[in-house]
């Protein structure tokens, strides 16, 4: 590997690491995702600083060139991240559905309670239907 390429890779990885740390500092990520990204950034930096590791992996996996190994590893990593993200999305969708249903049921119960209270206190009021309409129309 040429010295310039090696240097560019190290600088690139350092920039990625700084970016991840800044994301963590600004609390943009949940703790467990911060862990995943910072470990990945460190591993990437390790590959850049010690190319021998990549050479060894190239030999181990039976891949043709070092760059192919890096691409392969990054692709596998991205695949795992995407799958994990779709699992999270599915999980969150179910929870949002549950929450929406609970809110809907709560609103209906509240509206019924408001109705009961007004009916009770409006015993002397002549036009009860008008109050009922008002409650039912406001969300």
């Amino acid at each position: 590997m040429s010295f310039r390429l090696h240097l560019s890779l190290i600088i690139g990885c350092l920039l990625v690491l700084i970016f991840i740390v800044s994301l963590i500092k600004r609390r943009k990520l949940e703790v467990k995702y911060s862990i995943i990204w910072i470990i990945s950034a460190i591993i990437l930096l390790l590959f850049a600083v010690i190319p021998d590791i990549v050479e060894f992996l190239t030999y181990l996996l039976g891949v043709q060139t070092d760059s192919n190994t890096v691409y392969l590893l990054i692709i596998v990593f991205l695949l795992l991240v995407s799958i994990s993200a779709t699992i999270s999305i599915s999980f969150m969708t179910k929870r949002i559905i549950t929450l929406s249903q609970e809110i809907g049921i709560l609103k209906s119960e509240m509206s019924r309670m408001q109705n009961d209270i007004l009916n009770f206190s409006d015993k002397n009021k002549p036009d009860i239907t008008e109050s009922e309409q008002r409650i039912n129309s406001c969300k």
């Binding site: 963590i24 500092k25 600004r26 949940e30 703790v31 911060s34 862990i35 910072i38 929870r95 929450l99």
Partner: protein
């Protein structure tokens, strides 16, 4: 000065333990609220039957989300001190007044530690070793000696309440909050307590996951230290 104290009791599938906890807390006379973290067993029935003050969450949030719900309730209702007592019966309410006294004496967060006097149930050997590692990490990062970083038996004052009701860790709240609060230069103290062994049901942390848990917690503490 009379402090308004609230006991927060997170409970997830504790139908066999929660009755005992309710009876003991009623004996001591503190205000308490039980957070039912969407239990799938009969926990909610026990709560309803006892006519206790409770919040039943529509989805399961885990210990972090459940306890934060309690902190939100405490903050919004003007409580000065909030004490966490787990719904599994491991925490003995007789130590609550010691926690309150310690908070009143000028500490922002007081943790009941099993390892200062090493009495009562101190958990399995594997977990103790893990907690030793955690203690070491916390001491290295924050220069504060915490002997029991995974103890949920803790009290906090209104300053810390204000932080927690807005910002509370989701995954491993017990050690993460120590880092979170210590970083803001708040004062943390530990007092010795004896805890009981779990009398019924299962802990939500199985022994198999203990090692994985310990690694994750250590990493979480490091992340928490980098944050903000």
């Amino acid at each position: 000065m009379h402090n308004k104290v609230l006991i927060i009791v997170p409970a997830y599938n504790e139908e066999s333990n929660i009755q005992n906890v309710i009876d003991k807390l009623r004996n001591f006379g503190y205000d308490f609220i039980i957070i039912n973290d969407c239990s799938s067993d009969g926990t909610l029935d026990v709560l309803k039957k006892n006519r206790v003050n409770y919040i039943s969450l529509p989805v399961n949030l885990g210990i972090g989300g459940a306890v934060q719900t309690g902190y939100k309730y405490a903050y919004r209702n003007g409580y000065d001190i909030a004490v966490q007592v787990d719904g599994d019966g491991q925490h003995n309410p007789k130590y609550i007044k010691d926690l309150i006294t310690a908070v009143s004496s000028g500490y922002n967060m007081v943790i009941g530690s099993r390892y200062i006097e090493n009495i009562g149930y101190t958990s399995t050997a594997a977990r103790k070793m893990g907690k030793g590692v955690l203690s070491f990490l916390i001491r290295a990062f924050l220069h504060s000696k915490i002997t029991d970083p995974t103890s949920g038996f803790r009290a906090c004052d209104r300053n810390v309440l204000k932080i927690f009701q807005k910002d509370y860790p989701f995954e491993y709240p017990e050690p993460e909050t120590i880092v979170q609060i210590a970083k803001k230069k708040y004062r943390i103290k530990e007092i010795p307590v004896a805890m009981n062994e779990r009398t019924g049901g299962n802990s939500s942390i199985t022994p198999l996951k203990s090692v994985y848990y310990m690694i994750e917690v250590c990493l979480s503490i490091i992340i928490k230290f980098i944050e903000r």
